[in-house]
């Protein structure tokens, strides 16, 4: 019943929280009743393929979950860009991204205000509007692409994502399957495409930041500039971003190369740690444009406060990356051990036991 559980888990993820448990209980009962009915008619257990076909008939978990939603909100600009199925996820991602962005922006403004800088409403408004438009554009673009795929191929999905999650199948072949073998997990193509898009946007942003520091410093760009250390590390940062894109492209064509992704991610975390280590060592990340000009001491004070915040952020980043690195190494070791020791789970199912 592992496949049934994974299907239910995928449906549950897209259900409204208040009704989730109740709906899943009922749906689980329905699926198990149907399986039992079929088994008693056949006089044997269902094979993996038969279970797979039964779940396929029930349809895409995302679409099934959407039918339980009372609200059918969508994003329509001329035509429907994001339908009711993806709309709740779209809002969640947008709120999360905007929350983080505005938190960072607010921190910069507070630091500037504490250091005695005059901040006009116009400055606050323009930076917030710019961030809002960037986030809105990027998130809407990604979700409308996923929506397009979902509309064109409502039956192209499988449950081989990590942790029982659903993944949309971006394969070009029509033949789809629900791989049951625990020994053959796959990198979700949806993940790969998302990473390519997100890293591409990051590359464009990195290029822009060099020419327009306003994109990262906001109104503070008038009297602060990035310290030389960023220009020294610009190439390694771009290199890591490009490497991530290359890795995602490789996994797009070879989703079965999960070990490659695991090892690559560990390597990327190590490289990231080394980068952050040298950044921390630099000690100064922003400098005042001209400390001898009028208000120069105020600018220097502002730079000091911003540097303090950056130091805390970098230390927090190190802690987070270290934690992720340990988790990824543990996961890799576990998967290596499992592959050696665990019998093929599909064999029992396929033999009908």
């Amino acid at each position: 019943m592992e496949l049934v559980d994974r299907y239910l888990k995928a449906v549950a993820k897209a259900l409204p929280e208040a009704q989730r448990e109740d709906i899943i209980r009922e749906l689980s009962e329905d699926i198990r009743s149907e399986i039992e009915d079929k088994q008693s008619a056949l006089g044997r257990s269902l094979t993996a393929a038969e279970q797979e076909s039964l779940l396929k008939q029930r349809g895409n978990p995302l679409l099934l979950a959407a039918r339980y939603r009372q609200d059918h909100r969508s994003l329509v600009i001329g035509r429907q860009l994001i339908g009711p199925v993806l709309f709740p996820f779209y809002v969640k991602v947008l709120c999360f991204n905007l929350g983080i962005t505005f938190l960072v922006t607010a921190t910069i403004f507070v630091a500037l205000s504490v250091s005695g800088q005059n901040i006009s409403f116009h400055q606050v408004f323009s930076i917030c509007l710019l961030q809002l438009l960037i986030q809105l554009g990027v998130v809407t673009l990604i979700f409308s692409l996923v929506q397009k795929h979902l509309t064109k191929n409502p039956d192209r999905w499988n449950l081989s994502g990590a942790g029982g999650g659903l993944r949309l199948d971006l394969k070009t072949e029509k033949n789809v399957s629900l791989p049951l073998e625990r020994g053959t997990p796959q990198v979700s193509r949806f993940d790969s495409v998302s990473i390519i898009v997100a890293s591409g946007v990051a590359l464009v942003w990195l290029t822009g930041v060099q020419k327009a520091p306003f994109l990262i410093l906001g109104p503070a760009a008038a009297f602060l500039r990035l310290a030389p250390v960023w220009y020294q590390f610009y190439f390694p940062i771009v290199l890591l971003t490009v490497a991530e894109i290359v890795r995602a492209v490789i996994n797009l064509f070879r989703p079965d190369w999960t070990r490659f992704r695991a090892v690559f991610n560990i390597g990327m975390h190590c490289a990231g740690l080394a980068l952050v280590y040298f950044l921390i060592k630099a000690g100064r990340w922003v400098v005042a444009v001209d400390s001898t000009a009028d208000g120069g001491s105020q600018y220097a004070h502002a730079a000091e406060i911003v540097n303090q915040w950056i130091r805390y952020s970098l230390v927090l980043t190190v802690a987070f990356v270290c934690l992720m690195l340990v988790l990824r190494v543990i996961r890799l070791v576990r998967s290596l051990r499992q592959q050696k020791g665990t019998p093929y789970i599909g064999t029992a199912a396929k033999s009908g036991n």
Partner: protein, 115 residues
């Protein structure tokens, strides 16, 4: 897209539209006797009103929210199942809907006889 595909799609859409209205009536009628989701689905299927679970369960929830059905979780054959039945309001609405359906049916019958 060929004209025949268009016609087929159009027919499918109209057929679904027609069935959607009748499904509420069929579900209410079937639930004059208490049943749980799966047996209800089987009953409807046997009566020629097949309905997929992705349509049936949200419909049951909607009808329950509207006060036309009542449900309770109960153990049967060592498994917990949710049983649905028609409420008093549901029985009243069913009666009215059946009268309406019969009236539509006879009107259509009259029109089609002349055709």
């Amino acid at each position: 897209m060929t004209p025949s595909t268009n016609t087929h799609e159009l027919f499918e859409n109209l057929r679904l539209e027609l069935r959607r209205g009748s499904l509420v009536l069929a579900v209410l009628a079937a639930l004059r006797k208490e049943q749980y989701g799966y047996t209800l689905r089987k009953t409807l299927e046997e009566q020629g009103m097949a309905i997929d679970e992705g349509t049936l369960y949200p419909l049951l929830r909607r009808l329950e929210t509207q006060g036309l059905l009542v449900s309770e979780w109960r153990e049967e054959e060592k498994r917990n199942k949710r049983f649905y039945r028609l409420s008093a309001d549901g029985a009243q609405i069913l009666k009215q809907l059946l009268a309406e359906w019969q009236s539509i049916n006879s009107s259509l019958g009259g029109m089609l006889q002349g055709a």
